[in-house]
């Protein structure tokens, strides 16, 4: 089933919001980091993993989720957070380390947690898997609705925790979906160098569950496959695995020289940028007019600007608050 007109507008809007957000972050990230690039400096310190190019996965999946559904994300969480409805102002403030941030600056970019929309992260590869499976268990035990989705990279699939959680979800028949964003790279290591199989959907056989791979970073196909998997989970028919071919348009983190990429790879990727592609298709399919999409883009830009402004203008975290919230209040 292909996405409705409304779905498509929502998806496009979130893709654009995510892209604008990352563009803004990318620009600000370099403030205070030149001439000498030093991660510790500037208004946004620390590592920064951008998700430019990977937006179709986030929106294709999250289009089927409500705030009460659970998502766990990775070290590269912005697109997923935005599609899941994480508060953009507070997320921006968190990335700036401000008192108004989601966790008051304790977490930062790799630890985006928003309890209001059941969104959590882990910066450790594959470690979002267990918590998502546990949330699915919680829903099943409580007889409450809701599914849990764990997003992971293709590199994470070779991590032991991934395997354990897949087996657990399957043997307990939980409302869980694992979505693999296959951007072909785990930092500088290619999928080919690190994975024994080319198609991780094949690994679903190890858990007796459905597995599907979507090529081409195509938001429509992702939307369809995710819809099936999530409906299956909601119906109590157990977990599924989806691998999506996607593209990382940026480096692994900001500052990555990307010397490991084969010549020409980056240029080819930019030609496949999913955002102009979706825009063209929506217009071609008569799903949106140029004006509508322009308006969406303008609104997204405004929303991002407002979030960045909120973050910039917020107070710094209070240093001594570092010592609070270690335990539940």
């Amino acid at each position: 089933m292909s996405p409705t007109r409304e779905d498509q507008h929502w998806m496009y809007c979130n893709m654009v919001t995510s892209r604008r957000f990352e563009e803004a972050i990318a620009k600000i990230y370099f403030e205070g980091k030149s001439p000498a690039f030093n991660m510790a400096n500037g208004p946004i310190p620390g590592e920064m993993h951008l998700s430019d190019g990977q937006e179709p996965v986030a929106v294709g999946v999250c289009a089927h989720l409500t705030p009460e559904d659970v998502v766990t994300a990775t070290h590269r969480p912005h697109h997923q957070a935005i599609a899941k409805g994480v508060d953009l102002d507070k997320m921006a403030a968190e990335i700036f380390g401000k008192a108004t941030g989601l966790s008051g600056g304790r977490g930062g970019h790799m630890h985006i947690f928003d309890a209001d929309v059941n969104f959590a992260c882990s910066g450790i590869i594959a470690q979002g898997m267990g918590p998502a499976v546990g949330a699915a268990l919680s829903r099943k035990m409580q007889g409450k609705s809701g599914v849990a989705v764990a997003f992971v990279g293709e590199g994470a699939v070779n991590q032991g925790g991934w395997h354990e959680a897949m087996n657990l979800a399957a043997v307990w028949n939980l409302p869980f979906v694992c979505v693999i964003e296959d951007n072909a790279w785990g930092i500088s290591v290619s999928k080919e160098t690190s994975s024994a199989v080319a198609n991780n959907a094949d690994r679903a056989a190890a858990y007796g569950i459905p597995g599907k791979r979507i090529e081409g970073n195509d938001p429509y196909a992702i939307h369809e496959a995710a819809g099936e998997a999530i409906a299956r989970a909601r119906a109590g028919n157990g977990p599924s695995l989806i691998e999506v071919e996607t593209y990382r348009l940026a480096g692994h983190f900001m500052g990555d020289a990307e010397g490991y990429r084969p010549e020409g790879e980056k240029d080819a990727l930019f030609e496949k940028d999913p955002i102009p592609k979706m825009r063209a298709r929506m217009i071609g399919d008569g799903m949106a007019s140029e004006e509508e999409l322009d308006r969406i883009e303008a609104e997204a830009a405004a929303r991002v600007d407002a979030a960045i402004k909120f973050a910039r203008e917020s107070d710094d975290a209070a240093p001594e608050d570092a010592l609070t919230r270690v335990f539940a209040a």
């Binding site: 977490g107 947690f113 882990s122 470690q127 546990g134 539940a328």
Partner: protein
């Protein structure tokens, strides 16, 4: 403390009773782990629970500690109150990320918006020749890392109260029970751990140490099995006219430094007894906690009786050579006096 007509329980039974009582009043509490279902837990602390609560709430798991401890974190964040068993603490190496980076830190990372109310029970200790991957205590390893409370009962009364307190705590609690105190005959058992336990539910405050024996010449500070060794040593010392105070830490995190310092301020002498490896662990922390506060109270250098920095050997004579025992504590006193 226990009168002859009072009901005595083993630690295993006290833990199971606390869990059952809590499960009756709180539908969010459930138990997960290996062999905690029909088997009732290798160390007996879930015995009888599956019969009462069924396989949904008493869940045997695959041998997938990373997955099920991680799942407990996710379930706890989603409103449940999981009690999870890591069968031997020695197995923490296959799943510690889920423990120390998720369970212990998600409260902080979320600025307190997500709570992680879960109990991680795990067995500790040696003395029965189970070899180097099944006999460790690792108190220092768990207590060193922030975000988790850590408790370790030395007797059934405390065990029940701590278990109930742990299940009601909104923060993650690591509950380290010593195999030699469980009251499982097949592991040998320290009789002193089996004491009177009230029927009704009650809690023990996490983070409070106990002076389990008053004395004035030396403070012997320990936890778990070490408390029993300390009490035995205290008896021997008493016969020699030496009055030893014994402090049972009960909780390692938060650590009740006040009680330790007050005891040493009174006695002027400190012996720490620790079944965990000596260096970079509990024994050093206790000594540092006292000495950084005030060295003037000490009449002599503090001493530690701890497991040497070697893997735990299998052969009985070797293992017993390494383990703390009452004789070594008495010897520590003798050296202290001689110095």
């Amino acid at each position: 403390m226990t009168k002859s007509n009072e009901r005595k329980l083993t630690i295993a039974r006290a833990m199971a009773e606390a869990t059952a009582q809590e499960m009756r009043i709180d539908p969010k509490v459930f138990v997960m782990g290996e062999d905690i279902g029909p088997l009732g837990g290798v160390y007996g602390n879930t015995r009888g629970l599956i019969e009462e609560f069924g396989a949904e709430r008493i869940r045997d798991t695959p041998i997938s500690e990373t997955a099920f401890i991680g799942a407990a974190v996710g379930a706890a964040q989603d409103g449940m109150r999981p009690v999870v068993e890591l069968m031997f603490v020695d197995f923490f190496g296959v799943c510690f990320d889920a423990i120390y980076n998720l369970m212990a830190k998600n409260t902080y990372f979320s600025g307190g918006k997500f709570k992680v109310p879960m109990v991680l029970m795990t067995s500790t200790g040696g003395g029965y020749s189970d070899g180097g991957q099944h006999s460790q205590c690792l108190y220092g390893t768990f207590a060193h890392l922030p975000g988790m409370k850590v408790v370790a009962p030395s007797n059934a009364y405390d065990a029940k109260g701590l278990m109930t307190a742990a299940m009601r705590d909104d923060s993650p609690v690591v509950y380290m029970y010593h195999k030699g105190l469980q009251g499982m005959g097949w592991l040998g058992t320290e009789a002193g751990a089996t004491v009177h336990v009230p029927e009704e539910s009650y809690t023990l405050e996490i983070g409070k140490a106990k002076v389990v024996r008053e004395g004035k010449d030396v403070s012997i500070v320990s936890v778990g099995m070490g408390v029993h060794n300390a009490l035995k040593a205290a008896k021997t010392l008493e016969a020699q006219g030496v009055s030893a105070e014994v402090v049972d830490l009960v909780s390692l995190v938060p650590l009740d430094r006040e009680t330790i310092r007050a005891s040493v301020a009174k006695t002027g002498r400190l012996i720490v007894v620790d079944e965990d490896y000596m260096s970079y662990g509990l024994s050093g922390e206790i000594i540092a906690s006292v000495t950084e506060h005030d060295i003037s109270v000490l009449k002599s250098a503090p001493k530690r009786v701890a497991f040497p920095d070697v893997p735990i050997p299998f052969a009985r004579v070797m293992e017993q050579f390494c383990l703390p025992n009452p004789d070594k504590i008495v010897a520590a006193w003798d050296e202290m006096k001689a110095a």
